[in-house]
C-alpha cells in the first residue's frame, strides 16, 4: 500500500521495506484469459478483467519488458475532441476514467488537465473546428473557441501576429484535455492488476496460436505452450503481424512515428498546442523538456526508427508557431511503430476466430484511449460481445461499409 505514513516510515529505515511493484511468476499451464502485449492497453484490460467477478485466472504475456512499446514512446496527449459520435462517446468515457485514475490505481499517473488547443489558420479551418466544437458540446464534451487575442493571452509565446507564416485565426480549446506520465500508466495498471492476482509475464513472446475447429485453445510462446479459454491481442504496432499468425488479414498498415524532446527549460508552455497548417504538436513535460511530434514517416515500417525529413517538417511547423524555439537544442528523438487503420479509427472487436479478440489499430492516438480501451475490451472479452461504446469499432465494419473516418481521408492508412 502506498500512503503518506508508509513513506515517512520508509524514510526512517533507509527505504529498505519496499517490495517489487509486481510479482514475476512462472507461467501456469492454463489461464481463463491470456492477454498478449504488456503495454498500457494490455495491462488496463487485465486490471478491469480482474475486477470482473468470476474471472481470476488472467495472464499478460509481454515479449520484452512492460511499457517499452508505444506506451513509453508517445507524446502523452489526452483529449476527447472528436467530431463523430462513436469516437466522441468512446474517448470521452476514457477521459472520465483518466480523471479518477490516480485514485482508482492508488498510483500517481500525473494526469494534468492543462488543456489542448488546436490552432486554425484559415476561415475554412475555423468553420470546420467550430463545427467540431459544437458537435462536442452536443455530446456533452467541453469545447471553447478562442479568438486570436484570447490565444495570445493564453499562450504568450505563440506568434499571433499578422506576419506569421500562416497567421492564426483562432483555436479550439478542450480545457479538460492534457497530458499524463506515460510510464506511470503502465506501472500503475501493472501493480493494480498484479494485486488482483493477474500474472504478468515478461520476456515471453507469443509465436503462434493453437486453433481447433475455429476456436482458439492457447498460444505458443518462447516459454512454451500456454492453454487459454480466451486470447486477447493488445500488441499495438504489431497487430497485423501477430494476427497473421492466426491467419487473419487486417485493414491495417504498420507505420513509424517519431517524437523528440528539447533540452529542459524553465516553465514556458502550460498547455498542449497543435499546429493547423502542418502536423505538429507540443507540450512541456514536468522535467521542463518540450515534447514534440509530427507526421508519420509515411512508408510502412516495423523498424522503431525514423528519418530526418519528418523531424525537419515538424520543427519547421514548430518554429512557425513559436519563433522563440529557434535556439533550442534537441536532446533525444525516437520512434514507435503503429497500426494505421484504413479509416483512422481503432478496432476493439471479436474476430472470425471464436474466443480470439483484437484491440488495435490505434493510429496516432491510443495513449489517451488506454483506460477506456482496457475497460471496454475487458467487457468484450468477459461477455463475448462488445459494449455499446465499442460496438462501432468492430473488425467487420469495413466490409459493411460502416467506416468511422474522422478525417474523411478515405481508405489510405497513412492519410489518417
Amino acid at each position: 500500500m502506498y500512503s503518506f505514513p508508509r513513506l515517512v516510515r520508509e524514510a526512517f529505515r533507509r527505504h529498505s521495506g519496499w517490495e517489487p511493484t509486481w510479482r514475476s511468476p512462472e507461467p501456469k499451464p492454463r489461464y481463463d484469459v491470456v492477454i498478449v502485449g504488456g503495454g498500457g492497453h494490455g495491462l488496463a484490460t487485465a486490471y478491469y478483467l480482474a475486477k470482473e467477478p468470476g474471472i481470476a485466472n488472467v495472464a499478460v504475456l509481454e515479449k520484452g519488458a512492460l511499457g517499452l512499446g508505444n506506451t513509453g514512446r508517445n507524446t502523452t496527449i489526452v483529449r476527447s475532441n472528436y467530431l463523430l459520435d462513436a469516437n466522441a462517446h468512446f474517448y470521452e468515457w476514457s477521459l472520465k476514467l483518466w480523471e479518477g485514475l490516480s485514485q482508482e490505481l492508488n498510483f500517481n499517473v500525473m494526469f494534468s488537465q492543462r488543456g489542448v488547443i488546436n490552432l486554425a489558420h484559415s476561415d475554412a479551418q475555423r468553420d470546420q473546428y467550430r463545427r467540431r466544437g459544437n458537435a462536442m458540446r452536443l455530446n456533452g464534451i467541453d469545447a471553447v473557441w478562442l479568438n486570436r487575442a484570447e490565444l495570445a493571452r493564453r499562450v504568450p509565446l505563440l506568434n499571433c501576429s499578422d506576419d506569421a507564416r500562416y497567421p492564426i485565426v483562432g483555436g479550439l480549446l478542450q480545457p479538460r484535455g492534457g497530458t499524463a506520465r506515460h510510464d506511470a500508466v503502465a506501472w500503475g495498471y501493472a501493480r493494480a492488476a498484479d494485486a488482483r492476482g493477474v500474472d504478468i509475464i515478461q520476456n515471453c513472446e507469443v509465436t503462434g496460436f493453437r486453433i481447433e475447429h475455429g476456436r482458439v485453445r492457447g498460444v505458443d510462446t518462447t516459454r512454451g505452450f500456454i492453454a487459454a479459454d480466451k486470447v486477447a491481442l493488445a500488441v499495438a504496432g504489431h497487430t497485423g503481424q501477430v494476427a497473421a499468425m492466426a491467419g487473419l488479414r487486417l485493414p491495417i498498415e504498420t507505420h513509424v512515428l517519431q517524437a523528440f524532446v528539447s533540452e529542459p527549460l524553465k516553465p514556458m508552455l502550460d498547455t498542449v498546442v497543435t499546429f493547423g497548417a502542418g502536423h505538429f504538436y507540443v507540450s512541456q513535460s514536468d522535467k521542463g523538456e518540450l515534447v514534440m511530434g509530427g507526421d508519420l514517416d509515411f512508408y510502412s515500417s516495423y523498424a522503431q526508427r525514423g528519418n530526418l525529413p519528418a523531424v525537419q517538417h515538424a520543427v519547421e511547423c514548430g518554429l512557425a508557431m513559436f519563433p522563440s524555439f529557434s535556439r533550442l537544442r534537441m536532446m533525444r528523438s525516437w520512434a514507435g511503430v503503429m497500426d494505421m487503420t484504413m479509416d483512422g479509427s481503432p478496432i476493439i472487436s471479436k474476430t472470425p476466430i471464436e474466443n480470439l479478440y483484437i484491440d488495435g489499430g490505434w493510429c496516432y492516438g491510443g495513449f489517451k484511449a488506454t483506460p477506456g480501451s482496457g475497460w471496454v475490451f475487458a467487457w468484450t472479452i468477459a461477455k463475448d460481445e462488445p459494449h455499446p461504446l465499442n460496438a462501432a469499432f468492430a473488425l467487420d465494419r469495413f466490409r459493411r461499409g460502416a467506416v468511422i473516418d474522422e478525417k474523411g481521408a478515405g481508405p489510405d492508412a497513412k492519410a489518417h
Binding site: H238, G240, Q241, A244, R249, L250, P251, I252, E253, T254, F298, Y299, S300, S301, Y302, A303, N307, L308, P309, M342, F398, R399, G401, P411, D412, A413, K414
Partner: protein
Amino acid sequence: MLLIPCPHCGPRSHIEFTYAGDATLRRPADDAPLAEWADYVYLRDNPHGPHREYWHHVHGCRAYVTVERDTATHAIVTPGGEAS
C-alpha cells in the same frame, strides 16, 4: 533517408516520392462480389520483412516505381522497375 532506385532518374531521396503502398494487390473484376472488392480496398498483408511496394516519383519523372523493401530494416532488397 531512403534511396529509391528510379529506373528513369537513378537513385533518388525518398522525399521526392509519395509512398503508394502494396504493389501486389490486384484489382478485382468490375462485377466481382462486393466482399472481394472490400478485401481489395481495405485488407493488407502488411508483412514484417520484404514488401513489394509502389513509390510515386512526384517530384521527378512522375512514374510509379516498384521496389522491394524490407519493412523491418528499411533495406531496399531488389529494385523493381516501372510499375506494371
